[in-house]
Structures are given as C-alpha cells and as structure tokens.
C-alpha cells in the first residue's frame, strides 16, 4: 500500500514539475518581468490566458484518457483496449464535425462543445440500449464497433461533402487533435464532465478486480455487473467525450498508460486506475510541451508527439516482455 502511495506521490510530483515547465514553454519567451508587471505587460496574458488553461486541460484530458484506458482494459479483460473501443469518442467527434460542416460554430463558439457532448451522450445511450441488461462483454464490444463504424462513416461523409476545401481542412485539422490556443472557456466547459466521469470510473476498482475471474466469477463474488456497465459507460462517456470535445481525437494515451503502469503497480486492474490517471496527465503534458518546443514550421500534432514520448517506453516494455516469454 505504501508502495502505491509512493508511486502516486512520485507521479504527482512529475505532473507538478511538467506543469511548471508547460507554463514556460512556447514560441514566445515570456521573461520574469512580465510576471511582476502584469498590468502593463500584455505578455502576462500569454501565461495566464493561454498557457495556464492549456496546462490544466492537458492534465485533465490526460488523466481522463489514461483512466478511461485502464477502465476499458480492466472491463474487457483485454490489454489492447482503449477508450475508443466504446465508440463514444467517435460519436463526440461526429457531433463536433457536424457543427464545423454546417459552419455553425463561427457565431457561437460553445456550440461545438455542446454538439460533441450531445454526440457522446447519444453514444452512451445507444451503448446501454444495445448492450445493457443481460448482455456481456462481447455485446458491449460489438456495440462499440457499431458506434465507431457509424460515426466514422458520418465523419467521412461530412469530409467528402464539405462545402469547400478549407472546410474539409478545418475538420481534418480538428480531428488530428491539439491543445493549441485553448482558453479558460474550454477549461470551464470540460472540467465538470471530466471530473464527474473520472469520479464514476474510480468507483469501479472493486468490480474490475472481481472481473479478473471472468463475468461468472465476478457475479459469484456478488458484483452487480449491470450497475458496473452503466457506471462504466457513463463515466467513460462523459470523461472521454468532454476530452474529445475540447481537443479533438488524441489517441495512444489510453492504450499505453496502463501498460506503462503495470510493471510498477502489478496487473490488478483496480490498482491501475489512479496511477493511470496521473501518468496519463504526465504523458499528455510532456507531449504538449514537446509540441510547443519543436522547431518545425507548424505545430506538430499532439498525437505525433505522444508517439514520440510514449513510443520508446512502449518499445522497451515490449522488448523486456519478449525476453521474459522467450
């Protein structure tokens, strides 16, 4: 237990350090004088209005995605699952893409967020209808596949029917995922949903542990799998839906964060939840800092930076796994 607390403490410290770095990193160098002469120096606005919300969002989104990944892997008993398996992220993306397609978000910027959340909620509702009741994990996964297929088709349709090449470009850029220029508005919109969703997910530890013995085993241990499924669908839906709504699709985090934590925490799914959340936050923060510091032309996409940060760890993990199995 103390080992767990030590790990969480260490990861928390890492997040804190990276947050500090995140406030400093960027194309524009903001000297210390800007901090002290806040009223006179408009570069203070860069720290406060741009980098601070961006940092908070990186932590929140990273935590939401890391936690969702751990929950999905625990529930499906499959280490290759990620939050996207549920199909809610795609549905949220579809909602956002529709507003861009109809050019609705020009006048009312909050409309994109609202549409994405509606997409996520619809996804959760459909998921529960299709896979609720007596359905098991397989039905759950299949329902996710259906949602993913429909949503991807919708996005592809919107792209092909886009009224102009610029509209299509805007949609593609948004889909690739980014934290650039997010403001405090985005933080206020997304944070409540991420907080509620994460809270629900953190309650699933006991059920996920029991699922180690399979669905029958878990039920034999007195776990109400229907309730578990509902809590999971709503929790993952709200948290990852809100994440997609503000940043677009950021992949990779949900998949690899639990894998990175398993050597440190063990394989028990419930034990992985909190560490995956904090580690996910650290990962997204680190990737976002990398994005801002790369000397390339346009901002490198967050997903690419994610692969650059997480990829080497993952590779080392695979190599050590192969050595063990050989």
């Amino acid at each position: 237990m103390t080992r767990r607390l030590l790990l969480l403490g260490g990861l928390g410290l890492l997040v804190l350090l990276l947050s500090g770095l995140s406030l400093m990193a960027g194309r524009v160098w903001v000297p210390w004088s800007a901090w002290t002469q806040a009223a006179q120096d408009p570069r203070w606005a860069i720290i406060f209005e741009l980098r601070l919300p961006r940092t908070i969002l990186a932590v929140a989104v990273g935590a939401a995605l890391g936690l969702s990944g751990a929950v999905m892997q625990g529930y499906t008993r499959n280490p290759l699952a990620d939050p996207g398996v549920m199909g809610v992220s795609s549905m949220a993306a579809l909602g956002a893409v529709m507003t861009m397609y109809l050019s609705l978000s020009l006048a009312t910027p909050w409309l994109l967020f609202a549409a994405a959340m509606i997409g996520a909620v619809v996804g959760v509702a459909v998921m529960l209808v299709l896979a609720g009741g007596t359905g098991g994990t397989i039905t759950f996964i299949l329902a996710g596949v259906i949602l993913n297929t429909v949503a991807s088709a919708g996005v592809a349709l919107a792209l092909s029917l886009a009224p102009s090449p610029w509209a299509a470009q805007e949609i593609i850029n948004w889909l690739l995922g980014s934290l650039a220029d997010r403001s405090a508005d985005d933080v206020w919109r997304a944070l409540p949903f991420i907080a509620i969703g994460s809270g629900l997910m953190l309650m699933l530890g006991r059920a996920l542990d029991a699922l180690t013995l399979g669905e029958t085993g878990a039920r034999a241990l007195g776990i109400d799998l229907n309730l578990t499924r509902v809590l999971l669908a709503v929790g993952v839906g709200l948290a990852s839906g809100a994440s997609v709504a503000v940043t677009g699709m950021i992949g990779f985090v949900g998949l690899i964060t639990p894998h990175l934590m398993r050597p440190l925490v063990g394989h028990q799914p419930g034990a992985l939840l909190a560490p995956s959340a904090v580690a996910g936050a650290a990962l997204v923060l680190a990737a976002d800092i990398l994005v801002r510091l790369t000397p390339s032309v346009a901002e490198v996409r967050l997903g690419v930076a994610m692969a650059a940060v997480g990829g080497p760890f993952f590779l080392a993990l695979l190599i050590s796994m192969r050595r063990r199995l050989a």
Partner: protein, 284 residues
C-alpha cells in the same frame, strides 16, 4: 482581480503598447493577417510598418501570390501567443482557421475581423474594402479594386464571341464549379465552366475517366511542382491526357490562383486571357 478587469487590463496594456511601440503615425493601426489570401490584400493596402505579421503561408510560392514579397515581412505560425506578443490593433482571420485561436483572441479583447471564402467578385470587393478600412487606407482599397477590374476588362472577349468550354484541373483532379469566384472569372474571360457535367457542385474532384470521356475545349491545368512526387500532382501529367490533346487544349493555370481573390485576380485574368488566346489563335 476578476476576469473582466483582467481583460480590461490586457486591453489597456495593448493600447499602451501601441502608443509606446509604434514609431510611425499614431493613427494607423497595426494589423496581423492569419490567412494567405488576406495577406495578399493587406500587403497592397497597408504601409509596411503597419503590417505586424503575415501568415507563414505567405512565403509559400505554391499557395501565395506574394511569395517573394513576403520574405520582407515578419510572419507568425498563426498561434495566439505570437499574435499577443506582437500587440496588434486588428487581426484578420478567415472562416475556416482554427476556432480555438479565434476564440482565444476574442477572449483577450483583441479586435478580429472574420472573412468568409469569397464566392463572387462582388463579395471579394466588399472584403477588400473592409481590409482597407481596417488598415486605415480606404482609398488604396478602391485602387486595388480598380486594378483588378482593369485586368478583367483587358482579358474580356469581344462582345458576341463564342464562349469556350473550360474546366479547371488541379492536383487530384480538383476543380471549381458554379458559385465560386473562379467560376465568375472564367465567365468574364469568355469561358463556360463545364464542371457540372462531371457532377460537381461547388468544389470537387473530377475523375480522369469522365474527363477523357467528355473533355472540354480547354483544360486550365495546374503545374506540377518541380519535384512533383505526390500522386495528386502526377495526375496532371497523366499520359491519358495526351491522348485527347487534339480535342482539348491545355493551358497553364497555377493552383494558387484558385484559392484567393484580391490582387491575385489580376494574374487570374491574365492567365485566362492567355488561355483564350491559346485556344483561338489570334482571333481572340
């Protein structure tokens, strides 16, 4: 400090920065443009000292009609941080740029002007006038408009001349249909845009097969870049196009003319006139 007063402080800070920072006349606003089409107009209507930055696309010869000129101007990569640091009075943005950046600028109280994609010369004129007003030089806007109209008049066919069927054909078979600015330019130059023959509404890709099946008289084709390796660009040099070279003339129409209005329309008019001459010989 509440959020409102903080933003007021930023606005005040920017204003003080302006008064303190700009060496030239206080009346002329500092302008930043975040879009290559708006860059081209801004450069023509504003003083060099007024332009705090252009978009980084302005230096790309494939996309911008002022590529060489833009080398002498500062650029940004269209992020809110860079814009804030330059303390502009007004920022020119286009409809499909990053919504987050626009929202961030608005939140900080920086004046932004939003421009949609112009689908006609009338719309484009309004935009030019708006940009000129924002830069504090309305007269230069009228001058630019007059220049474009002169170029259009120069490229216009004789009254009663037969309209020639034409199609714009860019990398990937990308073409402009009815209701676009390019379409109007083609009409004024004496062409009939036959994009709808191939099922196009406003913008779209024309499959090579359909083109070969029913070619227009003139193909306004883009040029593959010197090291063209992308599949999209190779289609411009597809051998199949050579097979219909007797029924269809191929004229040069650079890709960058497709996307913007503004001063680039002068080049557009010239290119279209040249294409017409090419088709008809001397009897244009």
């Amino acid at each position: 400090m509440t959020g409102l007063s903080r933003r007021a402080a930023v606005g005040a800070g920017l204003a003080t920065g302006l008064l303190g920072g700009v060496a030239n006349a206080l009346a002329l606003p500092r302008v930043i443009s975040l879009n290559p089409c708006l860059d081209a107009v801004l450069v023509h209507v504003a003083d060099r000292s007024q332009v705090a930055a252009l978009s980084h696309y302005a230096r790309d010869p494939q996309q911008s009609s002022i590529a060489k000129l833009a080398l002498g101007y500062p650029i940004t990569y269209e992020s809110a941080e860079e814009v804030i640091a330059l303390r502009p009075d007004v920022v020119l943005t286009a409809a499909h740029s990053s919504p987050a950046t626009r929202a961030a600028l608005q939140r900080l109280g920086i004046r932004t002007e939003l421009f949609k994609v112009p689908n006609s010369w009338a719309e484009n004129q309004e935009q030019i006038r708006r940009i000129a007003r924002a830069a504090g030089h309305p007269a230069r806007g009228e001058t630019l408009i007059a220049q474009v109209e002169a170029a259009m008049a120069k490229g216009a066919p004789r009254p009663g001349a037969r309209p020639i069927t034409a199609l714009v054909f860019q990398p990937n078979g990308f073409a402009a249909g009815h209701g676009t600015l390019v379409d109007e330019m083609m009409r004024r130059a004496g062409f009939v845009n036959v994009a709808q023959r191939y099922g196009l509404k406003k913008w779209g890709n024309v499959p090579l097969e359909r083109l070969l099946d029913d070619p227009p008289e003139v193909l306004l084709a883009g040029q593959a870049a010197p090291n063209a390796t992308t599949w999209a660009e190779r289609i411009l040099n597809h051998p199949a196009l050579a097979s219909i070279s007797r029924r269809m003339t191929r004229a040069v129409f650079p890709e960058r003319l497709l996307y913007c209005g503004g001063p680039g329309l002068v080049d557009t008019a010239a290119a279209l006139a040249a294409a017409r001459r090419q088709v008809l010989g001397a009897a244009a």
